[in-house]
Symmetry: C2
Subunit: 169 residues, 2 copies
DNA sequence: GAAGAAAACTTCGCACACGAAACATCGCCG
DNA sequence: CGGCGATGTTTCGTGTGCGAAGTTTTCTTC
């Protein structure tokens, strides 16, 4: 069961710390950048995704940004209020709502020269050698895969419904 | 400027994705676990930290959990309401508020057999060989260090005041 | 030792973020 | 056709999470 000597416990903690640090700091900086063009962090992400992929249903959007539908409803509400996106009922399935960028939203998206979490991406590129980069990717993939199977297998029959169809993201 | 061939752009994105995935999924699971004992995610973290380190001022607590004072004020408010912690004005410096676990809070903390982000820690231990673990730590430290200097150097004189005193965490 | 800067908290307003419940629509099965 | 479970979205209540402004206390500096 325990492949890892007790001595490495501290290292495990430091890895966790580092990931938490990288994530929170990146989010904070993304938010700052977004604020300069009048957006919030999540709104910036939505604008970029819609510009890249075209219209999406609210559920598809939720999957993309790893949030619940109820969360995204709120984000879209505020973006609609600002005239950045429109809601369009689907003709084929009238339960579905398609979210689309307005002209204003699209213009905004294309005028941006940064991505969400860009500090993060910069760090990866600037701080690491190509070979290290690939190493890191391999290790993180291994971790992510382990978590994925654990999460989907573990739950006692409940709570597994969502987030089961992530193949390529 | 760009040490990285264009080909690796996709790998960079995948690294970012992986970290975001690991963080958000861990947080979600931590929250689920905490809910079983009537706590929220951040509350679980606070309880564990206070049990481990003893009383802390609100600012020290903020640093530990990487949140702003105004956020922690709210968390402590609700925990105080639930009788998990007490606020004590410091005698030496009457601006300072010490947060301490109540008996109830301490009993709760010690009854828990899991840590915040424990899925995460498990993944690190179970999915990786000791040697990979050290490799990963090295790479993440490198990234974190780069971000740290970038963040503290970059800003045009503003917004750097906070978060300058992290040496060992 | 008093004016003013600085530090520690709190308050306020806003934007996520989630789960549970409500609602509308679709699909199927008889 | 008509029920009826499943699916897509919204609503609601609660809990973060942040920055700006406000309050109290301490520190500085003259």
């Amino acid at each position: 069961m325990s492949r890892i000597p007790e001595v490495l416990k501290e290292q495990v903690d430091r890895i966790a710390e580092a990931i938490i640090y990288l994530y929170t700091e990146s989010r904070r900086l993304t938010k700052d950048q977004a604020a300069k063009v009048g957006l919030t962090g999540p709104q910036l992400t939505v604008v970029k995704i819609l510009d890249e992929l075209g219209d999406l249903s609210l559920s598809e959007l939720s999957d993309r940004i790893r949030a619940q539908n109820s969360t995204v409803t709120g984000i879209v509400d505020r973006m609609e209020r600002e005239g950045l996106v429109d809601r369009k009922r689907s003709a084929e399935d009238r339960r579905v709502v398609h979210i689309q960028l307005t002209d204003k939203g699209q213009k905004l998206a294309r005028g941006l020269n940064f991505e969400p979490f860009s500090i993060f991406r910069h760090a990866i590129q600037q701080a690491l050698e190509p070979q290290e980069l690939l190493q890191l990717l391999g290790l993180l993939d291994k971790l992510a895969k382990w978590v994925r199977t654990e999460v989907e297998g573990e739950s006692t029959g409940e709570r597994t419904k969502k987030r089961a169809s992530n193949d390529d993201d």
